[in-house]
Amino acid sequence: MDKYKVLIGLEMHCEISETNSKVFSSASNSYSEIANTNIRPIDMAFPGTLPVLNMEAVKKSLMASIILNCQQPEHIYFERKNYYYPDLPKGYQITQETKPAPIGIYGELKYECNGEEKIARINNIHLEEDAASTDHYPSFSTIDYNRAGVPLLELVTYPDFHSADEAVSFLETMRSIYQYANISEADSKKGQIRCDVNVSIMDIDKDETLEENWGTKVEIKNVNSFGGVRDAINYEIKRQIELKEDNMYDDMEQQTRRWDEESATTIYMRSKVDAIDYKYFVEPNIPKYKLEKSLIEEVRSLIPKLASERKDTYINEYGLSNYDATILVKEKSISDYFEDTIKAGAEPKLASNWITSIILGHLNKNSLEITDLYVTPTMLKDLIDLVNTNTISSKQAKEVLYESLESNKTPTDIVKEKGMKQIGGEDEILKVVLEVLEEHPESINQYKSGRNNIVDFLVGQVMKKTRGQANPAMTMNLFIKEIEKR
């Protein structure tokens, strides 16, 4: 491994899920389990149908282009990519090629990998339409056209990644951007993200800025999860190094392979020589669209706070640790939950503690999404209030929260139902403290001889007697005062 440098380039396809309608079709852009329920005539390419470009899909892709620091073209064009496949009803995909320029070219994006900041260069990002999906049965296949025409963003990077870690960190950053910018749910479980990866190796002492030093590019098609990307890259690196060591690398032709999840290997598909000629030409039914500066500026002003900016706010304004802030922004839905809790009036640090310590654990344990939770940000805020006003102890609150998550009752209702309240008055607690001291007179001397932790034992006894309703901090203070009096 030390002898070689790895160059990895990515093509990341992400469906734009956050528009109402498809990109060139006015059918609903939504996920459906029932086949052929989101169809307008063009989605099945009935004769005489024409594409009509969705403004919102243009804006979303423009936003991605701006976030990736790309250059935007003067006019938007689309091109036809012609080939035959059963999932492609028109016999061509409407997409954007590099000439005329697509919605974004020559950008770059900073991302973090294992705590280090890196930069990846973007060759281009373009807007296109997704294909239909096919289901396979033993003796035939079927076609569902729901996905046909769903807007798709394809992002093409330069081969700037040197490890699977870097490639996956970049993809995670991109997914976060798509989610935070309200472009896509970017959910690979729904098939919204698909990647092609190209991998080559070169001698480590050579200059990677010179293209002639690069190795032979192997493209791996259709990797549908980030885990798959990692495994495919690592497998391919190993395979190519073995070829090198066996002096067979130079015979390897530029080729396309596919990732086979079952066998965890890449499988040869075709050589570069057999590459399909897609006969691209400009789509005549979509007139070129002048991209006004004002539109670009409008879209720029609409870019929401992305994960990194939110994280800065959490650390600098809310005083959270880098660790907690990182956890909170990892998924937009969690960060949104956190912010909604604060908006409801909760103190940020407390909200963060509750979410990172209890709620996320609950989600992980039960494989849930935060949006599935019964407990809303407002309920969480109410619970935090109950603790702040000393109505219940934080220990009680934890129990309430767990119960609420399980039973779908609001925390406030649970507290009311169980008649829970914290014994908050000093006089009430003092009574119990004195009782306990009487039962354990030896503890006074033990404390005075330096065994300070005996207090924990005493507090525990109070808790037992009050079934957890005493305020522990107050109880401890009372013990110390009382012992020192004697």
Binding site: G48, P51, L53, Y84, P86, G91, N285
Partner: protein, 487 residues
């Protein structure tokens, strides 16, 4: 023939005065359809159960018409005259036809075309050749062959057409009627089976300029289903026909229409061009200035190959949806590739298949610049030349074709090289999306010939008004085909 030889205005008046009913008109039109089908083979489908419509203020209400069979019509067989769609019954109607439905117009048949509009002979439709009603040994030209034949035969006052190269304007000339394609995007193409999208236009075939104006007023309009349409609500073609053309200016291109370009000209060509210049004299008498202009011959000679390259390339892509998977007579096979291949091999005529191969060749990455992009470049140069003319002139006036309808027995697409420019120059109207109208301007060998006026984009009112004035100087308005026997 009782009514169907009349103009739209006349029919409307009869209907309003209750001298005839919509039902009677439809019955007559269907009867005539059957007769013309027997004689000329003009229709794919005759809609025998066509329902009468209420007569309203709209001039088209209650009046029968024909639809070229490449317009999608809900619940009605729509074949594009191709075996690939010989059983296709759409569930939606083309916007232009919907607009006519809103006007209470009554469709009585679907007319034959050259398969998907590719071809100019009327011989490649899957139901057979369309014969010229003036002389059954001759072609109607195409691709709107059935529409031209039916309107000329007096089946109804108008039929829709489509025009990618000259598919409305050439058959109109061969059949002695009016053929008009308005500016690109004035009539929605939604529901028109695509041939070459950047050249395809919807339009109409009628027996008078006024009828063309009335029908187009009703077909046109911006359409949310066609991004290339534009708002033409401020254009009223019918009302703009004043006949006042004093001070207008037209030009003709000498490289195309002067006799000396054709030293070996046939008698028919000679008479056609002589007739053209006689008509020019009449045009001048209207107070229109007509001047001769010149355009680089090399550029003009590039018109036909530019057309072949662009139209074949777009067509091969446009017709990739024809696989037999979702619609069309599917073929059996063990795998989808053979299934599609069997369907396409069987379904398409030889001409189309050859054009697909050409279209595919010119789009290959190693050929694209030399063929496809160069053709697109020449397209721009030609459009620029015409637009330059439109800076000084209201329109270009030129003869259509090299004479009357060609004989069917030598209708091959390999036309005489010398007259190719005369045959193909109307394609420039499609390159630039220009409004372009053909009207009958005389007879050669007892057969009708036509003249064309083409103007600048969005200037349809002016172009039609000029055509209207010129039409009034001649006696061919509203003529019905009379079979002639030239022996």
């Amino acid at each position: 023939m009782k009514y169907m030889n009349k103009s739209i205005e006349e029919l409307h008046e009869l209907l309003v005065n209750k001298e005839v009913t919509s039902k009677e008109l439809i019955e007559e039109s269907i009867e005539l359809s059957k007769k013309v089908q027997g004689e000329c083979n003009a229709f794919v489908t005759i809609l025998e159960d066509a329902k009468e419509q209420e007569v309203t203020d709209n001039l088209l209400s209650g009046i029968p018409y024909g639809i070229k069979d490449n317009y999608s019509t809900k619940g009605i067989l729509s074949t594009g005259s191709s075996n690939t769609l010989k059983d296709y019954v759409p569930f939606f109607t083309a916007t232009a036809i919907k607009n006519l439905e809103k006007a209470n117009a009554v469709a009585v048949n679907k007319t034959v075309l050259d398969e998907f509009g590719m071809g100019g002979t009327g011989t490649t439709g899957h139901t057979g050749t369309v014969l010229n009603p003036w002389d059954k040994t001759r072609m109607c030209a195409g691709s709107s062959s059935g529409s031209a034949c039916a309107v000329a035969s007096g089946v109804y006052p108008y039929a829709t057409g489509s025009d990618t190269g000259d598919s409305i304007r050439k058959p109109a000339a061969y059949c002695g009627i009016v053929g008009y394609k308005p500016t690109y995007g004035m009539i929605s193409r939604y529901g028109l089976f695509a041939f070459a999208s950047s050249l395809d236009h919807c339009g109409v075939l009628t027996r008078s300029v006024k009828d063309a104006a009335i029908v187009t007023d009703n077909m046109k309009g911006i359409d949310k289903n066609d991004m290339t349409t534009w708002d033409s609500s401020n254009i009223n073609l019918y009302k703009s026909l004043t006949g006042n053309v004093k001070g207008k200016k037209l030009c003709y291109i000498k490289e195309i229409c002067n006799l000396e370009n054709y030293p070996n000209r046939s008698e028919e060509l000679n008479n056609h061009l002589v007739n053209f210049f006689n008509v020019i004299e009449k045009v001048k008498e209207l107070g229109i200035e007509v001047e001769e202009v010149s355009i680089d011959k090399t550029l003009l000679n590039a018109i036909p190959s530019t057309y072949v390259v662009i139209s074949c390339a777009e067509a091969t892509s446009n017709m990739s949806n024809l696989t037999g998977i979702v619609f069309g007579p599917r073929e059996d096979a063990n795998n989808y590739i053979d299934m599609i291949k069997n369907y396409r091999t069987k379904g398409f005529s030889s001409l189309i298949k050859r054009r697909f191969v050409i279209g595919s060749y010119v789009l290959q990455s190693q050929n694209k610049d030399r063929y496809f992009h160069n053709a697109q470049r020449v397209r721009r140069l030609l459009v620029d030349e015409w637009n330059k003319l439109f800076e000084s002139y209201d329109g270009v006036i030129l003869p259509v074709g090299s004479g009357p309808a060609l004989k069917l027995d030598n209708s091959s697409n390999n036309l005489d090289k010398e007259t190719q420019l005369l045959e193909e120059h109307l394609q420039v109207g499609n390159y630039g999306g220009f409004p372009s109208i053909t009207i009958p301007d005389g007879f050669v060998s007892n057969l009708p010939v036509g003249i064309n006026i083409t103007g600048k984009c969005y200037d349809d009112e002016n172009v039609l008004n000029i055509a209207y004035a010129i039409e009034s100087t001649m006696e061919y308005k509203n003529q019905i085909a009379k079979e002639v026997n030239n022996g």
